[in-house]
């Protein structure tokens, strides 16, 4: 297993309050690593630090063994795409405009827009099931449609590593499942913050954030124990078995 993205002793604080502290994480090539934790546990901030759009107060992020700080923003963006939560705009852009932005790190005055860029954008639109509405105005899209456009934009970046901050928020169940299936099927390494623990069970590995620290890391079965659900999430969790295929499903109750 090769490590593609890693951080050591990573920390970020605002006004003396630590939001992320002492996080060590190695993202292995090709895996889907889920990041779970209660609200305010530092998942979003950790993703922003790993994508390089925030500079850590302490520690270091390395991309393919090189310190992130030593790479240009463009080099990072060609390898790492980040889908933030609920990014919005008041500009009158279309779906296609928004997805075309994903090609930004690959274009310059000397590398103008090409038919290859066009093809990548079309493919990204198709991947998120938006190919039939490229000319729709952003302001007319539902929350779920916007999220799918953001994911298409990230796919258009052709990244090796995809960082997603709760991408299934606002999506109906059909699109939640299709986005997660899509993400799992992509030939990229994925770090995905999730709220739905049953969805998190599908990841290769899970990391649990609690008050800014990574308190557990391992396979879903190792990590999502009843003790962990009680201590970190404050709920009583029980595994039930689907009689049809033997899959384990979590059921939650208040303590």
């Amino acid at each position: 297993m090769t490590t593609v993205l890693q951080c050591s002793a990573l920390g970020w604080a605002v006004k003396g309050r630590a939001i992320v502290a002492h996080v060590d994480l190695h993202l292995q090539q090709g895996e889907t690593l889920g990041l779970i934790g209660p609200n305010g546990s530092g998942k979003s901030t950790l993703l922003k630090l790993l994508s390089g759009i925030r500079r850590p107060c302490s520690g270091q992020v390395q991309l393919h063994g090189k310190p992130l700080a030593s790479l240009s923003r463009r080099d990072v963006a060609r390898q790492v795409a980040f889908v933030e939560q609920q990014a919005d705009t008041g500009d009158a852009v279309t779906v296609r405009d928004a997805v075309e932005l994903g090609r930004t790190p690959w274009l310059s005055a000397l590398q103008p827009w090409s038919s290859e860029d066009q093809r990548i954008v079309d493919q990204a639109l198709a991947d998120v099931d938006m190919a039939q509405m490229p000319e729709r105005a952003w302001s007319t899209l539902s929350g779920g449609e916007r999220q799918r456009v953001h994911i298409a934009r990230a796919l258009a970046q052709k990244p090796q590593i995809l960082l997603l901050d709760e991408p299934t928020n606002h999506l109906d169940i059909q699109h939640q499942l299709s986005i997660l299936n899509l993400v799992r099927a992509l030939p990229v390494t994925t770090l995905i913050a999730l709220h739905d623990l049953n969805q998190a069970l599908q990841c290769d590995r899970l990391g649990v954030m609690e008050r800014g620290r990574l308190v557990a890391l391992g396979t879903p079965a190792e990590v999502l124990t009843t003790e962990r659900l009680r201590d970190t999430f404050g709920v009583r969790g029980r595994y039930l078995v689907d009689p049809e295929d033997g899959a384990r499903v979590l059921r939650f109750q208040p303590i």
Binding site: I53, S72, D75, A87, G90, A98, T104
Partner: protein, 344 residues
Amino acid sequence: MMARGSRLVLITFACLLLLAAAVIAGVALGETPIPPSVVFQVLANKLFGAGFVLDPIDEGIVWNYRLTRALVAASCGAGLAVSGVVLQALLRNPLADPYLLGISAGASTGAVSVALLGLGAGMLSLSMGAFIGAIAAFSLVALLARAAGGGALKGTGQIILAGIAGSQLFNAMTSFLITKSASAEQARGIMFWLLGNLSGANWHDVALAVPVSLAGVLLVSWHTRALDAFTFGVESAASLGVPVRRVQAALIACTALVTAVMVSIVGSIGFVGLVIPHAARLLVGVRHGRLVPVAALTGAVFLIAADVLSRTVIKGQVLPIGVVTALIGAPAFAVILVRGRWVR
């Protein structure tokens, strides 16, 4: 894709052609209309030594009076409009305007200090004073925004608030100076200058305004993809590979410099930097590759037209051009606001 590249070339070419037509019209129109054929002959004489025999008065009006006005107006309109596009994109605020950064307020204070207090002991011209005032005010605003955390990725709101505070401060200083030391005649002259005035435009002004405006437009054109990347905010731009701080610093400094030069030459001409970008968006959409050239052209043509109006609306009197731009710009802005294309 070929179609995009050639379309951009086509747009640019059409823009330049329209601009040339506007300059010619701006020179031809006035209280004494001059036929375009004479305008062309004067240009041929002056530029290529063609040797047409012309009325020297006409020749003087065209070459030394109206052409300089039209060129300064065009540079100023293009510079302000593109500055508006940049600030609206970077600050993610549709109400951003080049004067928001305290520049016009600072320029006023600088000009008034020179005119009334004799600052610089006659060594400084009014426009030099305005330029120094503009840069001083912008520096203050930028420092204040930085101290308030505007340097951070999120705090684009800080520079707007800092700009408002800075503008208020410098406007108050200007009013204080005028009230304290100006005679009624001086006050009227200063008011006229503050509202924008092209009547003094000479070839020295052209030699300053045209290169500055051109350089500004070119620098911004180089960054159109980066400006597009700000569509979904600053963090999104960063994740798309834009070196956010460097682009913000370079482009905001560029708009400040361009605006300061323009204000120092012609005074503060309102609404161009605010309204023209929105009008241009209605014409060609929000993608900056098209928006920047079209906004530059629209701004240039608009200001030439406003200058013609300011010279012809009242017989025998020249209105401050800022009055004309505001009289057209404010209702135009209201229409855009109601149509609401740029807000949801």
